[in-house]
Symmetry: C2
Subunit: 476 residues, 2 copies
């Protein structure tokens, strides 16, 4: 190819495919280059297989509620972990196939190979040099792998030290496992594997988990997880491969497990990508400055999208990144996009979520907080799900909702409702104008809203938002 392409997209993950969708609307003069397997991280090794495994784990775990419900025989249930993992892979294959459709008809415009930047507008792949007016870098990320105390060959360790890249490929799992890290993946997989019947132990250098910054919510989340498996927090865990598995040491603790799942976060795939050839200063992580509203790298015709930009590695953010990059790569002057309200969800049980501003980012002297605990919430009690806490942060005076952190039943649903409230700059009173059906878990949210509203100046008596609680458990 001697001609100059309009766009080269590096990476065909979620961000790359979102960019492709927009680029394709505007030109046929592009290529998309992908290194390794086609199909997105989300579908192959991320969101979808993890949620599929979690559903099986939670279904099995619910047997602990059976006796109280009047269901007999729960103690005889067993879990066939090989079958559970086979189901994960079966569904996963379908999900991956669905993501391949986007590129399978591109013919020569879809290139398998490892791209390397040679400079602005220049790429080398499979020994060829390609030129383009714009380049979109959506090279994705990969799991951080832990250092080992003693050197070992990574190839021989594939069964001993797992990541999400390899976990779902296992035919079976050992009876004892450790998880390193209590970010979203660490929490989700530690709880799921524990609920599937594996003896889990968890190590985390951090004492705050899942991105929570509210100490009360963090404490509840830790307490609830700590009832399911031992947590060792605040210490670095060193790994040693030994005859019988992996030894994990923290100085005070030493345990041997069959394998370890490393859930230490994800790092952008930028090694050997040639970012230094762009002639723009890179930060300590080797990343160039990227404007999150345009996805543009400095003022170059280069865009970064998805996990590769080193920002929040979340599917919906990656999809937005790609959308923005795909549109702006074809424009002389990039559009500046308003981003969505921040939202993170950990699919644990109870779920953990943050919406809008986290507590840490707010001035503690200039916010009001509203709180609910779910121990006595009526619907949660009926469902044997009455655990957790939800905390709201609002602006004094106006009562405008600024953010929330929670570890609650139905957290994923509460979080979307609150995201809409925060996106629309709604106040606590606006939210109290909502009908809250009875009995729903959202009535717990209403309790927190009322707790916050009670700290605001009194308002119009003729507004139903002023309806107060009955203070009767059956009715909240």
């Amino acid at each position: 190819m001697d001609e100059i392409l309009d766009v080269i997209i590096i990476g065909a993950g979620s961000a790359g495919l979102a960019a492709l969708r927009e680029v394709q609307k505007r030109t046929r003069n592009f290529v998309i280059i992908n290194d390794g397997s086609w199909g997105t991280v989300c579908a192959r090794v991320g969101c979808m297989p993890s949620k599929t495994l979690i559903e099986a784990a939670n279904a099995f775990h619910r047997r602990k509620t059976f006796d109280e419900f009047g269901i007999r025989g729960g103690e005889h249930l067993t879990l066939d972990i090989a079958a559970a993992l086979r189901r994960v892979r079966g569904l996963r294959d379908g999900f991956v196939a669905s993501t391949l459709k986007a590129t399978e008809r591109l013919g020569e415009r879809a290139i398998s190979g490892r791209a390397r930047l040679l400079g602005v507008g220049r790429i080398e792949v499979n020994g060829r040099e390609l030129h383009a007016r714009s380049i979109i870098i959506a090279a994705g990320s990969r799991p951080v792998v832990p250092a080992l105390s003693r050197a070992g060959s990574w190839r021989t360790l594939s069964k001993q030290v797992l990541t999400t890249d390899t976990l779902f490929e296992q035919e079976a799992l050992p009876s004892h496992m450790a998880v390193l890290g209590l970010g979203p993946i660490g929490i989700e997989m530690a709880q799921a594997l524990s609920r599937l019947g594996i003896n889990m132990i968890v190590f985390s250098e951090s004492t705050t988990i899942a991105g929570l910054t509210d100490p009360l919510v963090n404490a509840v989340a830790l307490e609830l997880l700590g009832h399911e498996f031992p947590l060792h927090l605040g210490k670095k865990a060193d790994l040693d491969i030994i005859e019988s598995g992996v030894q994990v040491c923290t100085g005070t603790e030493k345990v041997v497990v069959g394998s370890v799942l490393a859930a230490l976060g994800r790092q952008p795939n930028i090694d050997d990508l040639g970012l230094e050839t762009l002639g723009i200063e890179l930060n300590e992580q080797g990343l160039p400055p990227v404007d999150p509203h345009t996805m543009q790298v400095g003022d170059l015709p280069v865009f970064m999208a998805g996990d590769a930009d080193g920002q929040t590695p979340l599917l919906h953010e990656a999809a937005d990144d790609g959308h923005i990059a795909g549109i702006n790569a074809m424009r002389a002057t990039p559009f500046c996009f308003a981003r969505r309200v921040p939202l993170t969800i950990v699919f644990s049980d109870p779920g953990i979520a943050t919406v809008g501003s986290r507590l840490q980012s707010l001035d503690p002297k200039n916010i009001l907080t509203g709180e609910v605990r779910f121990e006595h919430q009526s619907r949660a009690r009926a469902a044997q799900r009455n655990k957790g806490i939800l905390r709201l942060y609002g602006e004094p005076g106006s009562g405008r909702l600024l953010g929330a952190e929670m570890c609650t039943p139905a957290a994923e649903h509460m979080a979307h409702l609150l995201a809409l409230a925060i996106e629309r700059s709604l106040t606590v009173r606006d939210m109290l104008r909502l009908p809250f059906y009875h009995p729903v878990l959202e009535e717990g949210l209403r309790t927190a809203l009322r707790d916050l509203a009670a700290q605001l100046p009194a308002t119009d008596e003729s507004d139903l938002a002023g309806c107060e609680p009955f203070n009767a458990e059956a009715l909240e």
Copy 2:
């Protein structure tokens, strides 16, 4: 009592207690009169016991997903229905107790007895006449009971023809039961009893169920319920008490069951209440005109609240009614309250809900519809909950959301999110500005929003609301 009271509240159910809360803030010169057991319908025989039974039924029903999840032994689970009902009563007792707290310290101001109006401002109870400046009628409702083909004594039939007043009091239940009626209670209890292992058969005179008016949603709901138990729709069922139980005949069908649950709706408790003494015209049901924004009866110092007013018998509406009546009973000129967005939820699985305007109330030529079916929704598939349909109705041009009807997983949560959107007069595009986390069931809602948005005029390219689907199952 010779003095004139400020307020007499007739009925200490949810509406009466809400009124009491507001009256108590303004005066101590009131009485509240309750006929029969104290404690609300919701707590005693309504929302709470039904939801508690449903949770047990759904937990037991999930065993049918176990094999696919890799969980073995589900076929050996059994349900101890006596234990399930005992749990219902145990929790119910606590819920009832929580509602009693509101009146237990009132002393002489809480009167047990049957109140009868003698005219505006005059009540008779237990042979005494009471006078008050305002009267709040919150006398509640009771289940409609079916006529029997042959006369029988209701007292001897208490085991054969049940209502929600008696269902939860049963120590055991027969192996075969029929439900009459497919309103919310009929659907919820038919499905719950079926899932608890009882052979159910259901009769409904209406062919539309659960208040649905969208034929597509109604059809999906009927199809899904019809997979669980036989439905006989569109015919009146006659009951006959026979030796072995109850015979149910529709002309074409004749079945004998151990007992029948009558779920034919609720009727206001207005018999012998003396409404005719108010000197205001009553309608065919014997009800006076009530302004839903003030709860005032005509221009009299009389207010009606809760199920007694013959409008939607829903807890959250009853609570609002009582709140409004309690405030206005103490005012010279009543406040006019804006009511909340209409919201109905049936706690079936999938759930059935309507929000805002139902399809029937909209001009079919002047709306756009958006639709999603959940068969291929990724999270629903992972959870083995991939059944159902959600339909949205929007205003052409603006895309303002007007209403929704649905039979979907997580319907109760989707319904609250949509209620907020409709309450705030949001458009489809406003909703598409929301972050939709991945993978969540709300992404199904997003598919319906996008379906509707695609029928609107194109807008600003630089708005993330314009993000389009990947058309990859793993990502929607």
